[in-house]
């Protein structure tokens, strides 16, 4: 790949102390993500996929190696990398509209520019009727739409998603997956998506990065070339599912033995 990478992870390691013992959350992780790619990080809990995402976000610092965006080291959170949390993390005292406007307002853009942008993203995520509602009045799916719109309205180049649909029911989840793909295809965003659902990872991404725990590291990097929209019940989909399932579980097998 000759295109410059928007995100580069080089020999990254992360250790922390827990009751006097050192935990290797991540060890020698290398990963390059091109602009516009949709990459899923998948693995059992404790494999460091969320830690890796949080380092990309700038919420945590690496113990060794580097995480870079456009070749510049990531040292702190910034509006160029938007985060979508599993538990939404919306500001409960702000309406849907004001939650989406939070970032643009912070950067003191001209008022009508902010307003037009916010209104367009309210429409994009289909929450026109709920623009004046507060988060506690929304369903989980609606909250996550707000969280996505909030990041998009802030001109994030990379959207980091930490099991964003994990708390949603199956039907809402499928709808949001479709909507996310639609937005991604329309905007050319770069998405890094953490999940522990193999099906979700294959359905969404260009690449599925399989991670294994203790110490957290990348087991394999699997390009998914299936034509979109993907059919989760198609034989080739299931073939990939079986393959990735094997890679995920081989580790469990070793551990159990």
């Amino acid at each position: 790949m000759t295109a410059p990478h928007i995100i580069e992870i080089e020999h990254l390691s992360k250790e922390f102390e827990l009751n006097g013992t050192t935990i290797h959350a991540l060890r020698d992780v290398n990963l390059s993500i091109a602009k516009g790619e949709f990459v899923c990080l998948i693995g059992a809990s404790g494999c460091g996929k969320s830690t890796l995402l949080r380092i990309m976000a700038g919420f945590e610092t690496a113990s060794g190696g580097a995480a870079k965006m456009w070749s510049k080291p990531i040292t702190e959170p910034g509006p160029d990398r938007g985060m979508v949390f599993q538990d939404y993390a919306l500001f409960p005292w702000l309406t849907v509209r004001d939650n989406i406007a939070f970032g643009p307002t912070e950067r003191s853009r001209p008022k009508n520019e902010v307003r037009d942008k916010v209104e367009s993203f309210i429409d994009l995520v289909g929450l026109r009727k709920f623009a004046e509602a507060y988060p506690h009045q929304l369903s989980g799916g609606m909250k996550q739409r707000v969280a996505i719109a909030r990041v998009l309205a802030n001109d994030a180049e990379v959207v980091l998603m930490d099991e964003p649909f994990g708390a949603l029911d199956a039907m809402t989840r499928e709808r949001l997956q479709e909507e996310l793909l639609e937005i991604w295809q329309r905007t050319g965003l770069t998405v890094v998506f953490v999940t522990h659902s193999i099906e979700e990872a294959i359905y969404l991404s260009d690449r599925v990065v399989v991670m294994t725990p203790a110490p957290g590291k990348i087991e394999s990097d699997n390009p998914i070339t299936l034509v979109r929209p993907r059919d989760v019940s198609a034989p080739d989909f299931n073939e990939i599912r079986r393959l990735l399932g094997g890679k995920l579980h081989s580790h469990h097998g070793r551990k159990a033995a």
Partner: protein, 287 residues
């Protein structure tokens, strides 16, 4: 004019009766909370009256006498003494001290609480000192405040300030420390930094807790005002109670108590109203 406390209350339910034939149900339903709220106070007045009559006590006046005194205290024309028609003067004096002390406490305690709750250095430097000052009852400050501020209003004002200060401060700190850490991360990744975090995240997130502190502090302010005004201030509801006690005017003592009760109740309602307006986003606070 027999019973002023009751005469305020009774007309409302009475007036619902004639209308009962036309739209009885909605009116009764709307008046129900009011009617229920009145049951216990009215029962109390009856028991008070009966108790005084039966025991033939001369030390405690019956509610009827207190009502007469209240009338004289408020509009005059009965006893025509030093206390006739002075209610507004004392009430305004006490209100100004309560609200003055309370507002000053609010203006100092909220920023300080935000700082202590959010900034480690501020917490480490200020918290131990404040925790030591906190258990000291406000009344224990009385002699010292009389020395520092002298006899008079400033001393009462300073006690009100102290009384309101700690509940507001502690609840602000509590509110700040309990902000969901995810919200700080969300703000950071949206580009919100530095002092803007206080204004856009910490303050609104801690607001429910701050309002709890304001209500508590406001309650303390009214409690402390009486003690504060017993230190030789000429005007104020506390001063009235103190003077009336010296003159064995128990009916006036009770009048002072009733006015404080009603004023405190109404201004607490004001805060509740303000809080449910400002916290309409919170399912626990909006109504």
């Amino acid at each position: 004019m027999k019973d002023s406390a009751a005469s305020v209350a009774i007309p409302a339910p009475l007036e619902t009766r004639p209308a009962a034939a036309t739209n009885a149900v909605p009116l009764l339903i709307r008046a129900k909370p009011l009617l229920l709220a009145l049951v216990v106070p009215l029962l109390f007045l009856v028991l008070w009256q009966l108790g005084v009559t039966w025991t033939k006590s001369r030390l405690i006046p019956p509610p009827t006498e207190v009502a007469v005194m209240m009338w004289d205290f408020a509009v005059g024309g009965i006893w025509d003494d030093a206390f006739s028609r002075t209610l507004h003067v004392h009430l305004i004096m006490s209100l100004s001290r309560v609200y003055g002390g309370f507002l000053l406490a609010t203006m100092v305690a909220i920023p300080l609480g935000l700082l202590i709750g959010r900034v480690m250095l501020a917490r480490q430097m200020l918290d131990p000192m404040l925790q030591m000052l906190r258990p000291i009852p406000v009344t224990a400050w009385l002699p010292l405040s009389m020395i520092i501020f002298g006899l008079g209003g400033t001393s009462a004002f300073s006690l009100v300030f102290l009384g309101a200060f700690f509940p507001i401060l502690l609840n602000t700190v509590f509110g700040v420390r309990n902000v969901d850490p995810k919200l700080f991360e969300a703000a950071a990744m949206l580009g919100c930094q530095g002092t803007n975090v206080f204004r856009r995240v910490v303050l609104p997130a801690a607001l429910p807790s701050i309002f709890t502190g304001l209500r508590l502090g406001h309650g303390f302010a009214w409690m402390v005002i009486v003690v504060g005004e017993m230190t030789g201030v000429p005007e104020g509801l506390g001063a009235v109670i103190m003077d009336a006690r010296t003159l064995s005017r128990t009916d006036l003592v009770i009048c002072g108590m009733i006015v404080i009760g009603i004023a405190g109740f109404l201004s607490d309602k004001l805060i509740t109203l303000l809080s449910s307006r400002m916290l309409s986003w919170s399912p626990q606070h909006s109504r």
